[in-house]
Symmetry: C2
Subunit: 308 residues, 2 copies
Amino acid sequence: MSERVIINDVGPRDGLQNQPKILSVVERLELIRALQAANVEHIEFGAFVSPKAVPAMAGSDDIIKMMQGERGELSALIPNRRGYDLAVEAGTKTVAMVAYGSEGMAQKNVRMSRAEADNATLQIIEQAKRDRVKVIATIATAFECPFDGPTDAGVVAETTAKFLEAGVSSVVIADTIGAANPGQVKSLMTRLVSDNGARQLACHFHDTRALGMANVFAGLETGIRRFDASISGLGGCPFAPGATGNIATEDTVMMLHQMGFETGIDLDKLIRASDLAEQLTGTAPGGRSKPWLKPFLERQNEKQNART
Amino acid sequence: MSERVIINDVGPRDGLQNQPKILSVVERLELIRALQAANVEHIEFGAFVSPKAVPAMAGSDDIIKMMQGERGELSALIPNRRGYDLAVEAGTKTVAMVAYGSEGMAQKNVRMSRAEADNATLQIIEQAKRDRVKVIATIATAFECPFDGPTDAGVVAETTAKFLEAGVSSVVIADTIGAANPGQVKSLMTRLVSDNGARQLACHFHDTRALGMANVFAGLETGIRRFDASISGLGGCPFAPGATGNIATEDTVMMLHQMGFETGIDLDKLIRASDLAEQLTGTAPGGRSKPWLKPFLERQNEKQNART
């Protein structure tokens, strides 16, 4: 029996928000539908933020309204209580809040101290419990901050424990700028898993320094079984100097399947979702395994068609 | 005290042989000198093969003649006894022979059975002992073969032990087509290290499916402290469908340094060698970390210059 790994595709939010072209609600929904067609059941579908500040995420309420009652975990990023109210009003059942491993990034990103950002998340968690809404808490710059340097593992450990105790559904340990190395991932995640177990922990990596898949493997080694990834490697971070795209969902799923893990995802249809992302945005890089993966899957399909 | 990892740069041979442009002896020597300037002490400098069949490696005798008495391990690929004689006559102190983990690749590459290829290597080892020449034995398709599928780990384990017993200086476990995943690397290398210790073992990875650095990390986890890599990711495999470039030396060194390993290599000068590879070949992909690494190193240098 093979072990299950959850992939949370953040392409429709983290990805689309951090690339130049603004897609229409219809196009964003088309991308989400393509992911669902590939059996991706965990999707960050949008954000409830100011449409003036972040036009790429405008109309996220329309998106979730069209997906009411659908299976899977459809989450939306919310920056604050106002975003929470809008998200829940529109029918969102899972919200995602961002906290910080470093002061520098908290200040730069939300003009708050780390502690203030933590408290904002804790207040959302309290309200969400009353509303039976799930909360995913992401700890940004959990490994390194472009402003403060390497992050204190103790701070991340304390923050993680605090959020879990408060009742989040999962804590995502995020390498926001793609600066983590697999040795560091192994060390931090071993500590967090030892403190809290692996079930409610996840990792979020970028491929800036070519270490995305190495970091996923390091996370797997410590027992982590949930990862954020972005279809076609869409994404980046506008506030983080030097950050490039998220790890590509297709690369991650391919590695997991090769290693014998189960994701429930149809890799062939996932490649079609990746093609769609490239087509819609014009700049999606495409998973780095795609040049190899596409002819491989095509040959497989030809063989199957020849048989039937 | 940090641990030492040896990087054997195979760019001037494995890399240059498997890209379209044929460089002159002077250009190849320029690339080797750039690697030496970055303190890369293990370099596969050329091959003693038919200049008609492999024009890219013609004049390897001139290259080694110009490097007599220099420090470091300068190795040449040899396909057979004739190549061995030419290499040693020109002054080569380390030769590299290729054996096979699979029948399909042995047949395709050298029209021999696996056993015949093994015996050819064993005969070279015997002669090399008499001549006090070092032998590196590479086991190609040690993880998967494009013709035979997954490779039998038992075959790789037997072949490795046989070569070590015969007296090679190291055995390189090669993922010739970039099909290995880190789980498989960990499993095979754990077995080989348990049988033979890590000191004389090395790994050789390609980045075809985006898993190059993940596989290096998996190798490190089992105790492996020697890796082949290719400056600027030069390379591929003409006989292996779907194979793309070797892992880039600059990506590998960057990861190792970030993890606290010592390589002795000057990353700043290594980037200059990578730039030179791109300039000379016109097609070298450049390490995937380079877009990030170059501005990072430039900022560091500016700071140092400002201080002095």
